[in-house]
Every structure is written in structure tokens, then in C-alpha cells.
Subunit: 180 residues, 2 copies
């Protein structure tokens, strides 16, 4: 079951490693920058976007003009599987609400969905477009269950299932985020 | 099928992106360093270790004293799924042969196997230790097939299936590499 394994990979190889360090990264960033970004602790989490289309652009701005890149948090490095000092970082975005006020938050797409998308377009993968929608839901549910059982990741993430075709989904996201 | 998805993920999300850039990274490294490392073009590839135990240490030296970290190639960065300038890098190692001569090469473990290993130890993953050996072989075969069909990755990798329990497998690897 492809989506099941990809959800585990996303947790084991990434979220389990980076979410426990998130608070420290944010505190050291705020200490250096001395700005009004990420003031409230309830925004100290990564918003993880899970679009049901599995279509993952590499730049968030491509999906919505109300969201713009602001800055990266400081990098953390770890020795991983023979790669010395492999780098992990998160990007912060300004999300503009209907009154054009910016709300700052850490957002990224669930990268493993790019694998589902590409597999559904490669006949040798044995995985079709009709399987893909179902697999995105399996990915979301599996990841949700793993994270809810993970004490070290508590309160450091928010999974957002974008339940629509690409265009409408992106419009929902700033709306959702700007409510925070 | 978990291993099938992880092999596709390793290709789509990593090897397909980094292997085509490998020659350029090595050329620019050699240009800056002006040393005798990676002189021969047939060593311009990543040796990807696939241990059947799926046990992946984060440092290669933990598995064998005849291999030591030498340097990292220059980093490459790419915007990926909302993470701006995500960093990719490879590590170079000195592998000492029976006459204690160093042979330099790019080596890393197949990172997705860490997911297989951890899943087999977490009862909620629905995946046991007895499945794991079979899944490593599926991973290796699937990845082999994908890479053989990939023109952009040709000659830039060598898959090494370490066909034994951890200790003996690691001793085979320098032996293999030191023959190159
Ligand atoms: N050796 C190595 N060096 C790398 O830089 C690298 N980047 C990815 N991979 C492996 O390729 C495959 C595809 O990667 P993808 O990004 O789709 O999924 C990744 C991605 O969704 C997330 N992740 C891991 N590292 C990062 C990171 N630095 N930034 C954001 N997300 C990350 O967690 C998943 C699993 O990661 P790994 O378990 O390390 O192995 C991956 C995976 O098997 C790498 N392998």
C-alpha cells in the first residue's frame, strides 16, 4: 500500500526529527531577528498541506497570490544514513487576509504526494490516476493517526486536507490560516 | 506494497533530481579543491548501499573502520514543495584497501530503508520483521528497474545489495569498492 508507506516515511524520516526541534528553531530565530513575527505560541507549528489532487507545486505563490515567501528559519543539520550534516529548514510565509493584513506562518506541502502524482503518470509504476485520489486520503488518515500517537510532535503541526480541485483549494487555505 | 512506493519515492524525490547534476557538482568541487580526488570518471557516481537487514546507521564509520569521512561535495539547492532552497548534498569517503591505500568515492545508504526498519518495530504500522527482508529485496529490484530505464541517471549510480547480517556486509563493501 503505497500511501501507507509514504506517510510512515514522512513521519520517520522528517516530522519525527524536525517537529521536536521546532520550538528551539523559532525561539532562536525570534531572538536574532527581534521582529513581530511568530509572536503567538499557537502559531509555532508547521501547516502541512495535503491537496487531494496530489498536485504539489514547488512554490506556494504559484497556487495563490495572497501568500508570499517571507524568510527561512535557521537551518538544522544532522548526520543521516551516511550524508554528513544533512540540512533541514522550514519556510515562513505571509498570508494576506481579506483586509490585506499579513499573518505569518510556517507552511509546506506534504512532499511525498509528489511521488503519488508522478507514479500515476508513469505506466511502469502500476498505479493509475483513479487510485491516486484514494491513496491521498489513505496518506492523510495514516499520517493523522501516526501524529496523534506521537507525544514528541504534539502541538507542532496542523494537517490541512485541501478537499478540492487545485484552484479552489488554494483559496480556502489563506482563508483558513487568516482565521488563526 | 510499501517497498514499491519507497523505491519510487527515492527515485522521484531524490535520485532523479540529484544524479543528473552529479557530474557538474564533482567538476566544480575538483576545480575548487585542485586535489587528486575523484580523478577517474568511472568513480563519478553515488554508491548506494542497500543492506538486507534494513539497518541503516547514520555514520558509515559505525559499520566499518576501513571507511572514513573525507569531505562533502558542494551543496545544491532547489525550491521543493514550499520549502525555499531545500539543500541537497553528498558525502565523500576514503575507503582503505588491504594495502591501506585510500580510494575516494561518494557513498550513502538508501535512506528509505530506515522507514522499513522503524515500521517493523512499531506495531501500529502493520508491518512485521518477517515482512521486512522480503520488502528490502522488493525495494532493491524495483529501484534497479526504475534506474535502468532512466536515461538521465545512467552511469551516475551503483546499487550495492549488502546480502548479509550487518557485520559481514560492511566488510564486503570496502572490499568491493577497493577493487574499483
Ligand atoms: N540521502 C538523501 N538525501 C536527501 O537530501 C534526500 N531528500 C530526500 N531523500 C529521500 O528521497 C525520497 C523522497 O524524498 P521526499 O522529499 O519526497 O520525501 C521526504 C520529505 O517528504 C521529507 N523530508 C525529508 N527531508 C526533508 C527536508 N530537508 N525538507 C523537507 N522535507 C523533507 O521526508 C520524506 C522522507 O525523507 P527521507 O527518509 O530522508 O528519504 C527521502 C525519500 O525516501 C533524500 N535522501
Amino acid at each position: 500500500n503505497v500511501a501507507h508507506g509514504l506517510a510512515w516515511s514522512f513521519y520517520v524520516g522528517y516530522l519525527k526529527l524536525v517537529l521536536p526541534k521546532l520550538q528551539t528553531s523559532i525561539e532562536s530565530y525570534r531572538c536574532q531577528q527581534k521582529n513581530n513575527i511568530l509572536v503567538h505560541r499557537d502559531s509555532w507549528k508547521i501547516y502541512i498541506l495535503v491537496p487531494v489532487s496530489a498536485y504539489i507545486p514547488d512554490q506556494l505563490e504559484d497556487m495563490d497570490q495572497r501568500i508570499t515567501f517571507y524568510d527561512n528559519l535557521n537551518e538544522t543539520t544532522m548526520d543521516r544514513a551516511g550524508v554528513r550534516s544533512r540540512v533541514y529548514k522550514h519556510s515562513m510565509y505571509a498570508v494576506y487576509d481579506s483586509q490585506k493584513r499579513p499573518h505569518y506562518c510556517l507552511v509546506e506541502y506534504a512532499t511525498p504526494l509528489q511521488t503519488l502524482f508522478q507514479m500515476s503518470h508513469d505506466s511502469s509504476a502500476g498505479f493509475g490516476v483513479e487510485d491516486r485520489y484514494q491513496q491521498v486520503l489513505v496518506f492523510h488518515q495514516t499520517l493523522k493517526n501516526i501524529l496523534e500517537d506521537s507525544t514528541e510532535c504534539r502541538n507542532r503541526y496542523q494537517l490541512i486536507l485541501l478537499d478540492d480541485g487545485c484552484d479552489q483549494a488554494a483559496k480556502k487555505d489563506p482563508h483558513f490560516l487568516s482565521k488563526e
